[in-house]
Structures are given as structure tokens and as C-alpha cells.
């Protein structure tokens, strides 16, 4: 009796954790095609509190599992809000994990986390120490002070910190009181009075000031161009073209894969056709770069990709499910020995894919099974409606009758979090569902899929997380790149890629 109860407890724990890690890959608290933002955030908040309350050790280790930034930030905040573990070693581990996670977050997100400490009224000794350590680790605090001025000031006030040099007066007195010797701070001061100084500031700061000076948008865009980061360039393509400014050249060869796919999907069909070769090469190279970082050698792979209307995402996550599908197409194509893609509504040219039509996953899945793949990866939001629940039935019968030995692995990769189920929506019992935010996560989640399938034990899951944590803490993020911001002309770093 006691043994059965123990088995059950272990099973519950494993299911809880798998659900949580899955949610942490896909949910960002934003609106989805089928669900609203409010439901999403209520759902994910509950999940965080539940896991933190019951499995604190595994909760913090999830930080290292490759989950998305939104959930990393949530975990850091929740851990800081609930005090320190008593055990000294646990305390050390938690501290190290929080500090490392914070350092790896893109700076705007990290500063947002620190700012949230104030709104959530977290001000314990450990939180202050973490803030201090983070600020010390920043390569150029003056730059941060200009770019994230309000956030940094909030952090400094909240944590009673003393900043050296001119930073204190800069944050609290701003541009009105004095002249600065630090060149960037001085430029920021001057930019409030003279247009010329604008163009030595980071784009996001200069943008507001340009408005104040009434600089025409096209002139501004043209002159600020050397200061743009890669992500900003990519983001500005459309609006610059609309304003009649020169479109900032974007180095497609350096853009991350999913971002690049979203960029491609935002282009008009004619443009995509025209620049076909260029875009194709860029996508190939991007996926090779992902594989260089996280190698995955796969055999005979079939991808079932959902390009139905619902893959158009929402206003907040525009075309993201489709972008993930396209990116997975390139990524799997690059990592597999043999590869074939099956779209729900067939496309001639993957680059020109568009979100339309119903979700008929059964037909492409049948084709994939017929082709005889070792691994079938289904990229879909989990809604199949033509006919409904066809994939669930299809895979059940397939496992039962045709493949009881599990020769063919079936994995469902879902970029959409379903708030009602606290998990990415699944396609039935026979297929393991794993959540992703970017296609870059696909190699990671393929490893995680065996836990989602339910065959691996809790011990294995704990070992998996521990191993990931160890290797994650070992590898320190590349630090030197922060310097690339300041000198115009030098290749600029993609801030969100880090």
C-alpha cells in the first residue's frame, strides 16, 4: 500500500514538473490566437506559485533548462520574494543560479526584473546583494544609466545603493544641474538642448529626444543608422520604408533564426519571391549557427507543419507559431540525415508560406508515416479541427496496431500555451507535447520530450535538470560584447541574442 502511494506521489511530482517546464518554454503571458492575455498570466502565475511551494529545488533548477526569458524573470522574482533556504549548500546553489540567470538575461529584461523588486516590495538582504553584484558585473554602467535611466534609478533608490563617480548626480539631478565629464553622460545632457548630440546616443534614447526637437523622422532614421543594433535594424525595416527613409541595411547573416523567420514572414509575397535566394541562404546559415551551439544529429525526420489560420498568432505575438514552424523546417532540415516537410495546406516554396485554411493535421501526418520517418516532429498549436481529434485517434491506432515497439518517435512541438490546461495543448496521449518559444529551443525540447512522454522517472528528470544546471553554471556568458555598443562603425551585437 505504502509503495503504491509512493509511486503515485512520484508520478504526480513528475507530471507537475513536466507541465511546469513545458509551460516555461512556451508561455509569455501575452495574448494568443485562442486565449487572452489575462487568462494566460493568471494561469502561469498560479503554476509558478504552485511549483515554488512544492518543489523549490527543482523550481530554481528550471532556470537552467533553457526556458524563455519571461519565465526566467518570474522565477528570479519569486525566489527572491520568498526568503532564503536554510541549508547552506542550497543557499549557495540558489544564489549562483539567480546571479547567473540575471547576467544572461538581455539587459532590458534584467533591469526590468530589478525594477520589479520595488513594485513587489522585495527588499531583503539577498535581493540587495544580487542587485549589487549585477550592477558590478555590468561592463559599462554609464551606458546603462543613459539607456535604462528610470529603471536604474528605481533600483538604486530601492536598494539604498551608492554609485560611484558622476552616476549618482546623473540619475538624480539629470541634465539640468551640471556639466558632466563622462562623455556619454555629457552627450545625453547636450542632446536635451542641441539636435547634433542626438546621434551619439543609443537609438531608443535618441528617439524620444528627436521627437522633442521635432526632427523629421526620415532625417532622424538616416543619421541614427550607425547606432542601431541588429534587432533594431530588423525591427525598423518596415517603418523606415514607410517613412521614406533609407532602409537600414541589416546583416541577415547574423540574425537569430526565429527572428529572421518572423522578418521574412512580415515581408510581402513579391518581395519574398524577389529576394528568395538571399533569404534562403540567410535562413540556412542561421540554422547552422543554432546547430553549432546545440548540435543535434537526427536520422530520417519528417516535419508536420501547421500553417493554418490560427498560426497567424495574435497582435502581441504576430505570426509567431508560423515563424516557429518555418524556423523548425530549416533547423530540422539542417540537422537531419534525410528530411521531408509536410504542411497542413501544401506550399510550393516554404519561404512564401502564409497562414490560411483549416487545420488538417491528419493528412500530412499520414503522408509522413507513409514515408517511413524515424522521427515525426509536429509543429502545431494543438488545435486540429478537420476532423477534430483526428491526430489523437490516428496516433493511438498507429501505436496500437502498427508500431507497438515505438520504432517511430512522435513529438509534438507547441509554441502556444493554453491557459485553461496550464500547458501547451496536446494532441492526445500517444504523442509527447513539448512547449517552445523559439525554434532554437527545438534541439533542447527534443531531449526533454521523453519526460513529456511519461516513460522516464522523476529521478531521471532530476538528474537531467541537475546536469543542465551544472553545465549551465560552468559556461559563463560572453562578457566582452557589451563594449561593442559604444563605438560606432564596429559590428554591433544583437542585444536579444545573448
Amino acid at each position: 500500500m505504502a509503495v503504491a502511494a509512493e509511486v503515485r506521489v512520484e508520478q504526480v511530482a513528475r507530471e507537475d514538473l513536466v507541465m511546469f517546464v513545458n509551460a516555461c518554454f512556451s508561455c509569455t503571458g501575452q495574448r494568443e490566437f485562442y486565449g487572452d492575455a489575462r487568462g494566460q498570466s493568471v494561469s502561469i502565475e498560479f503554476l509558478h506559485q504552485y511549483i515554488l511551494g512544492n518543489y523549490r529545488r527543482l523550481y530554481r533548477r528550471t532556470l537552467a533548462a533553457g526556458i524563455n526569458h519571461f519565465n526566467q524573470a518570474q522565477i528570479i522574482l519569486n525566489l527572491l520574494a520568498t526568503g532564503t533556504p536554510v541549508d547552506a549548500q542550497e543557499r549557495r546553489e540558489e544564489g549562483a543560479l539567480i546571479a547567473a540567470a540575471l547576467r544572461r538575461l538581455p539587459p532590458q529584461r534584467a533591469f526590468r526584473v530589478l525594477e520589479s523588486l520595488r513594485s513587489r516590495r522585495i527588499n531583503n538582504r539577498r535581493a540587495r546583494a544580487i542587485v549589487r553584484e549585477y550592477l558590478e558585473s555590468r561592463a559599462d554602467l554609464a551606458f546603462d544609466a543613459v539607456k535604462y535611466r528610470a529603471k536604474l534609478r528605481a533600483v538604486v533608490v530601492h536598494g539604498h545603493l551608492k554609485l560611484g563617480g558622476e552616476l549618482g548626480p546623473f540619475l538624480f539631478q539629470g541634465w539640468k544641474k551640471r556639466v558632466y565629464t563622462q562623455p556619454l553622460l555629457e552627450t545625453f545632457r547636450q542632446a536635451h538642448f542641441a539636435q547634433e548630440a542626438l546621434y551619439a546616443l543609443p537609438y531608443t534614447v535618441a528617439e524620444g529626444l528627436a521627437q522633442k526637437h521635432g526632427v523629421p523622422r526620415d532625417v532622424f532614421l538616416q543619421r541614427i543608422e550607425p547606432r542601431l543594433t541588429q534587432a533594431e535594424r530588423l525591427r525598423l525595416q518596415e517603418s523606415a520604408a514607410r517613412e521614406g527613409a533609407e532602409v537600414p541595411p541589416v546583416d541577415l547573416a547574423r540574425a537569430p533564426l526565429t527572428k529572421l523567420c518572423l522578418y521574412v514572414l512580415a515581408l510581402k509575397d513579391e518581395v519574398r519571391q524577389e529576394r528568395r535566394d538571399e533569404l534562403h541562404t540567410a535562413l540556412m546559415r542561421a540554422s547552422e549557427r543554432v546547430l553549432a551551439r546545440a548540435p543535434a544529429a537526427l536520422g530520417r525526420v519528417a516535419a508536420v507543419l501547421d500553417n493554418s489560420h490560427s498560426s497567424s498568432g495574435s497582435l502581441q505575438k504576430r505570426r509567431r507559431p508560423l515563424g516557429v514552424a518555418l524556423a523548425s523546417h530549416y533547423l530540422l532540415g539542417a540537422s537531419a540525415r534525410e528530411y521531408r516537410a509536410f504542411w497542413t495546406s501544401p506550399v510550393e516554396e516554404p519561404l512564401r508560406v502564409a497562414a490560411r485554411g483549416q487545420t488538417d493535421l491528419a493528412t500530412p501526418l499520414l503522408a509522413a508515416l507513409e514515408w517511413g520517418a524515424d522521427l515525426v516532429v509536429i509543429v502545431s498549436d494543438g488545435y486540429d479541427n478537420d476532423p477534430p481529434r483526428a491526430v489523437a485517434e490516428l496516433t493511438r491506432v498507429f501505436r496500437e496496431r502498427l508500431d507497438p515497439g515505438r520504432r517511430t518517435a512522435l513529438v509534438h512541438v507547441n509554441p502556444v500555451f493554453d491557459a485553461d490546461e496550464y500547458a501547451p495543448r496536446s494532441l492526445g496521449e500517444a504523442v509527447a507535447t513539448v512547449g517552445v518559444r523559439d525554434a532554437e529551443d527545438v534541439p533542447t525540447v527534443l531531449g526533454f520530450a521523453r519526460f513529456a512522454e511519461g516513460t522516464a522517472s522523476l529521478l531521471e528528470l532530476e538528474r537531467y535538470l541537475a546536469a543542465r544546471m551544472a553545465s549551465w553554471l560552468e559556461r559563463e556568458p560572453r562578457k566582452a560584447e557589451d563594449a561593442a555598443w559604444r563605438s560606432p562603425g564596429e559590428p554591433v551585437r544583437d542585444e536579444e541574442e545573448a
Binding site: 495546406s345 490560411r356 477534430p388 481529434r389 491506432v397 502498427l402
Partner: protein, 391 residues
């Protein structure tokens, strides 16, 4: 020839039902058309006035019978040869009706429910056409001056007659359902179920037109059932299963899935049995080239589902356009009573006999249905008094 093409019963000939998509309590069933002729196109015309006044008889600004309603949009129907597609949407549109400002609002005066604008172009007011046809049909009032009827009833009939209905945007679920609905490539229509009761059907001739008109379903009006079941949270998910024992290869699996798809179509066809396959009474509204525009209603038996609507039948008998409205129970009862009265030349005794009840009961029923004003006050009082005595 055209007489023969009035529909006797609605058939989904040449059309196919696909598996439904469910959102909350709303179930949407796509209607697909495999063979698209392309010589009948519909376009959307937006009005956006607070109220529209449609002259049913006589000139728009003159005296005469008027139909007053909130009409958010009209349909412009173009027919002709197969090249119609090439010029589709490129024609300049004529100013439709006349706009009159009334304070903060505007009123649009429109000429007729169906108005020919060009040689091959027709403007119609969807659903209002059917509703007006329905109201005109039985709501005329007595044509023989029986002594029981009031003077108002004899001189003006049931005027002004009115019916209330519910706009689509009153239902939050319908908005969500239309937003998240995934259109099929060859989809030309939609059956709309609320809590698994058929509310409305909408079918056009061309998939592109349907794509453009999909969201206008939210502006259409529906029967009471849209709100009546509004608090029901979700309709049950219907899971059809595959038969595992019949599968020994992937080809078998494919066959099973095809069968599953067919089962869905049959099932939806069964669910929509109150509209398709039942006898309808149709009347010609307009003959546009080879196409016959008509409005119809089902048999108006209070215990059954009752729909009214408008349809266009093509030269080969296919259903090219359909839009229906489901009558609420009260609307059906009213229509049924009037239909019975009209059937017996408005003679109360004959009608009571036909209904298998007494004259007193019929009078009380008429009063309860809201037609008390048709009768002289003393007839009504007498009936109510003897009804009370009877208990």
C-alpha cells in the same frame, strides 16, 4: 420555367459539409463547394447608419409602405459571364439611397429590398428581404369585414407590424467563434449552431466572396436562441473514434480517417435536419438573368424548428445563395395563428374549428400573442370573462 425553380425543399446539392469548429457554446460547420462556376459574385456594402428606411411600395421619399430597421450592410450581387471575375471590384459603385441627418444620427432612405443598379448588378438587403417577405405574407390582416374585428384592424390590418431579433454582436461567444474560425480553401458557407441548435445558415457562390463576407455574420440578426443559450458554457466535444481492429497498414489508417470525415458530414447533415430536407414555401423575389432570388419559410408548425430565409437557385438547380433566420418559439406561434386565420378567411369560428379548439380559446390566444388590438374590445372581454368562468 422560373415557376418550376421555386424551391420545394432545401437540398445541399453540390455542397459538402466539413467537420465543425467549436468555440464555447457556438459550433460552426463549414460548407464547401467543390465546383465553383464563378458567374455569380457578391460584394459587401457598408451603410453604418443608425436606422434605415426601406420603401417597399412607392418612391423612397413618398408615402407608402416602409420597412424600418437597423441595417448595417447590404450585398451587391453581380452576375454574368465568367469574365465577371476579372472586373470584379473594379467598378465604381453608385451612391446607394439617400442619407438624411437626424441630429447626431443619420438615417438612410433606401429604395426597395432588392434594387437593380446596373444591367448585371443588384443590391439587396440580406435577411431583411426574407423578414419583410415573411411579414408581408400573413400579417396583412382580415380581408373580409367580419363583425368581430376592430375598426383599426379592418382599415390598417396589423400595421405597424414589428418583430424583434438579436444582433450577432450581442453574443460574446459568436464574436470569438467567428474570429478564431479557420476558413477552408473551398469554403462558401457556414452553418451556425448555438448550443447545438441550428441558428442560421449562410452560403454564397464563390469562396473569395465568403472570405470577405465572413465577418459580416456578426452584424446579422438572429433569433432568441442566440441569447437563450448564451449562459451555457461549452458544448460537449464530440469524439468520433477510429476502429483499430480494421487497421493493419497506413493505407487502412488513411481510409479510416476518410470515413471519420464522412461521418462528421453525415452527422452535421442530421443536426441541420430542421432546415435541409424539410418542405418550404417559397416566393419569387427577383429574377436576375439565370438566377432566381426567392424568399421562403418552413411549415411554421409550433412544435418544430422553423426557419425563414432567402435563396438563389442557379440555372442548373444548385443552391447559389442562402441566408436563413431561425424563428423563435413566440414568433412561430404568432405566425402560425395568423396563418390559420388567413386559411379560414379570418373567420374566428372556422379557424377555431381548424385548430381544434373553441372560439373563446382562440380569442384569448390571439390576445396572448399580442394581437388583441385586432379585435373589438367587447369580443375580447367576453372571451376573457367566459374563460375565467370556465375555470
Amino acid at each position: 420555367m422560373s415557376r418550376a425553380r421555386l424551391i420545394q425543399r432545401l437540398e445541399l446539392q453540390g455542397l459538402r459539409l466539413a467537420p465543425s469548429q467549436v468555440w464555447g457554446q457556438v459550433r460552426l460547420v463549414p460548407v464547401l463547394r467543390d465546383e465553383v462556376r464563378g458567374d455569380l459574385r457578391f460584394a459587401h456594402r457598408n451603410y453604418g447608419d443608425a436606422v434605415s428606411v426601406v420603401s417597399v411600395q412607392g418612391a423612397p421619399a413618398a408615402r407608402g409602405l416602409k420597412y424600418v430597421s437597423y441595417i448595417p450592410h447590404g450585398l451587391v450581387m453581380t452576375w454574368g459571364n465568367r469574365q465577371a471575375e476579372a472586373v470584379y471590384g473594379t467598378r465604381l459603385q453608385a451612391q446607394d439611397g439617400k442619407k438624411v441627418d437626424a441630429g447626431a444620427f443619420s438615417v438612410r432612405l433606401l429604395h426597395r429590398m432588392v434594387h437593380r443598379e446596373d444591367r448585371n448588378q443588384l443590391r439587396m438587403l440580406p435577411l431583411h428581404l426574407a423578414m419583410e417577405g415573411f411579414l408581408a405574407r400573413y400579417f396583412g390582416g382580415p380581408d373580409i369585414a367580419w363583425s368581430e374585428y376592430s375598426r383599426d384592424g379592418l382599415s390598417r390590418g396589423l400595421n405597424p407590424r414589428s418583430e424583434a431579433s438579436i444582433p450577432g454582436w450581442a453574443s460574446f461567444a459568436l464574436d470569438g467563434a467567428l474570429r478564431t474560425f479557420e476558413l477552408h480553401e473551398r469554403q462558401v458557407g457556414l452553418l451556425l449552431f448555438n448550443a447545438d441548435e441550428l441558428l442560421s445558415a449562410f452560403i454564397v457562390a464563390h469562396p473569395d466572396d465568403y472570405r470577405a463576407l465572413h465577418r459580416t455574420l456578426l452584424e446579422d440578426f438572429y433569433g432568441d436562441l442566440l441569447l437563450q443559450y448564451g449562459y451555457l458554457q461549452v458544448v460537449g466535444e464530440l469524439g468520433l473514434r477510429l476502429d483499430a481492429s480494421r487497421v493493419s497498414s497506413v493505407a487502412d489508417l488513411r481510409e479510416q480517417v476518410a470515413r471519420m470525415r464522412e461521418d462528421w458530414a453525415t452527422f452535421h447533415g442530421f443536426m441541420a435536419g430542421g432546415l435541409f430536407g424539410v418542405e418550404v414555401t417559397a416566393r419569387k423575389a427577383y429574377e436576375a438573368g439565370p438566377f432566381l432570388l426567392q424568399h421562403f419559410h418552413t411549415r411554421l408548425i409550433p412544435s418544430e424548428e422553423n426557419h425563414l430565409g432567402e435563396a438563389i437557385i442557379g440555372p442548373d438547380g444548385t443552391l447559389e445563395y442562402l441566408k436563413t433566420y431561425r424563428l423563435s418559439a413566440a414568433q412561430t406561434r404568432r405566425a402560425y395563428l395568423l396563418q390559420q386565420l388567413a386559411g379560414s378567411q379570418w373567420n374566428l369560428d372556422d379557424a377555431a374549428k381548424a385548430l381544434g379548439s373553441t372560439r373563446t380559446d382562440l380569442v384569448v390566444r390571439l390576445h396572448n400573442a399580442g394581437f388583441g388590438y385586432l379585435l373589438k374590445p367587447h369580443v375580447l372581454e367576453e372571451a376573457q370573462r367566459s374563460n375565467a368562468w370556465g375555470r
